[in-house]
Subunit: 202 residues, 2 copies
Amino acid sequence: MIVLIPFKTSNPKSRLSKLLNEDERREFAYEMLLDVIDAIGDLAKVKVVSPEPLDLDVEVIKDSRGLDECINDRLKIVPRAIIMSDLPLLNKEVLERFFSQPGDVVIAPGRKGGTNMLLVRKTGFRVSYHYGSFLKHIRISKELGYSYKIFDSFFASVDVDDESDILELMIHGKGKRSWKFLRNLGFDVEFARTPRLIIPSN
Amino acid sequence: MIVLIPFKTSNPKSRLSKLLNEDERREFAYEMLLDVIDAIGDLAKVKVVSPEPLDLDVEVIKDSRGLDECINDRLKIVPRAIIMSDLPLLNKEVLERFFSQPGDVVIAPGRKGGTNMLLVRKTGFRVSYHYGSFLKHIRISKELGYSYKIFDSFFASVDVDDESDILELMIHGKGKRSWKFLRNLGFDVEFARTPRLIIPSN
């Protein structure tokens, strides 16, 4: 199995700009990418697709095109999995379960209608990542007459975009590189009434 | 297997009070409870624990005590599962997987550190549902020397508390009773840029 991980380096995680400055966000995004690569381990061969060169132990493919174009061009050969780089709660058990799901297409939903992981086993499938991609990917599968499976995973559903996702990382991500990065900056969780994210003061 | 579902009838789902009036919230909570009972089907025997009588096809146990006391008193006999009543995205496949997990204790996390489903197979375990129960239930298991398993499920993680959870129900819950209830009120999802919840105007 080959896993494609798209990774954007310019102004990453802009919705976290109230919590982290641009350098921190860049480093944080990189640590999450490393967490995803660590979780995949030797379950699959990883290829990171990025507009810029990256210092990684896995193959990096330079591609400056938009996300959909980037991925669709690489779905001429199957099977291929596409895993987002901001899923630090992934682990080996989740991914083993994901890779062993039946179906021509396997779709792991994120919150707010996104597609966090995708497994494509037949050529002809085209991704469309924006504007509610989860339901679109189901519709595309149906239109092609391809069988699809919804992959039910909480850890795969947490793509870290905003403050509420950081809270999930701090609760569930102990020991992860991205968790350590935030802990070193002073982030933590306080269980007062409901868990409250502790944000370091400057 | 016996599943306990705690259900509170007074002022339910108060965090949805901007979207639904009290009668609507009471009806919505009831529809979600029915969705959970439907999802369990004949996989287990359901007992709803509530301070007030309820018109249901399953056994209703009257108990006016607080949640922890209610449940702990019923963990003298095991195995017991405790499933929250606001998990409308549950389905048979999720629950079959849940019931077949190994471990003295199985814990399904909700967002924000909650425990949405719990399966207890040894006596002596005590629940503590408030203030970050997920990590507390792990700690309690460890202190007792009990093995525990974290159950990884997106559908079990969505307890409908606030507007963002309603969005998940409208995306993933097509055909559910609670989904139909909201659709009949005018709720829907619009995939403009990111999915936006459509709230009926009064």
